[in-house]
């Protein structure tokens, strides 16, 4: 009986591709947070204007979007674990610093990674891979193959996030 193969394939696909259940989980988390943000008030500030308040909320919404997505994906992906940790640290500090930049790897690891890449891959892929490492959370310490897999999943989740955010924005009464 080949029945054992089917659940594995389903699990594999779920691992590799975001599904509708992910979209749902993300939508619910994000919306809950959105409603909370709506009720929140910014800290009193001498320069407070309505446009500043809008900007302040926009930052919170952006954080909430990435955080909700990372939580919805859970711990099964390196990028989601890395992003969750990064955002928790960021939100703890209450500052939206540019988390998109990469953390510094130790020099030894960087050289080791570069050697591996040079040995196996075309030279002109290396610059692309290096850029990806900085764009994909947790990418600095991934081997090239994992980096490519994680990138594919990350891109699909980002697309889902954007799609949901857009449909919420368009669904708002004017």
């Amino acid at each position: 009986m080949r029945q054992k193969q089917i659940p594995n394939k389903a699990r594999d696909t779920a691992m590799k591709n975001p599904t509708n259940s992910l979209k749902r989980r993300f939508s619910l988390k994000f919306l809950k947070t959105l409603m909370r943000i709506r009720k929140s008030r910014p800290p009193p500030s001498p320069s407070a204007s309505s446009s500043w308040e809008i900007r302040w909320r926009a930052q919170k919404i952006k954080l909430a979007a990435y955080f909700s997505m990372a939580l919805s994906v859970g711990s099964k992906r390196t990028w989601s674990r890395a992003l969750t940790m990064k955002l928790r640290a960021t939100m703890g500090n209450r500052r939206w610093s540019s988390w998109k930049g990469s953390k510094k790897m130790t020099k030894r690891r960087i050289v080791a990674k570069k050697n591996m890449e040079k040995r196996h891959l075309e030279k002109d892929m290396n610059s692309g891979l290096q850029q990806l490492r900085q764009l994909v959370p947790g990418g600095e310490s991934m081997d090239p193959r994992s980096l490519l897999e994680e990138t594919a999943h990350f891109v699909r989740c980002l697309e889902t996030q954007v799609r949901v955010m857009r449909s919420i924005a368009e669904g708002f009464p004017c």
Partner: protein, 93 residues
């Protein structure tokens, strides 16, 4: 036999082959609208795919920025709670 063993003694757990990389790159290629839409018959180079992927990720981040701003403006301008809850719930169905 020994030569084969020594050739295979590389990076520990996952041996990365050119084929696997090429396969993953082609999967990535399918995801990137830039490449998917202007589909030509000839193969897109791997480095081009990676470059376009980076550009695509950056553009997605920019969209998130824009949408966050837009949502914040919408939140500021709208009043009732219950209307929104109903509308949003209907979005999810």
């Amino acid at each position: 036999m020994s030569s084969r063993r020594s050739r295979s003694r590389q990076s520990g757990s996952s041996r990365i082959t050119e084929d696997q990389i090429a396969d993953l790159v082609s999967k990535l290629q399918q995801l990137i609208p830039e490449i998917r839409n202007r589909r030509s018959d000839k193969q897109v180079s791997a480095s081009k795919v990676l470059q376009e992927t980076c550009n695509y990720i950056r553009s997605l981040h920019r969209e998130v920025d824009d949408l966050s701003q837009r949502l914040s403006e919408l939140l500021a301008s709208s009043d009732t709670d219950s209307d929104q809850a109903a509308i949003i719930r209907s979005l999810l169905m």
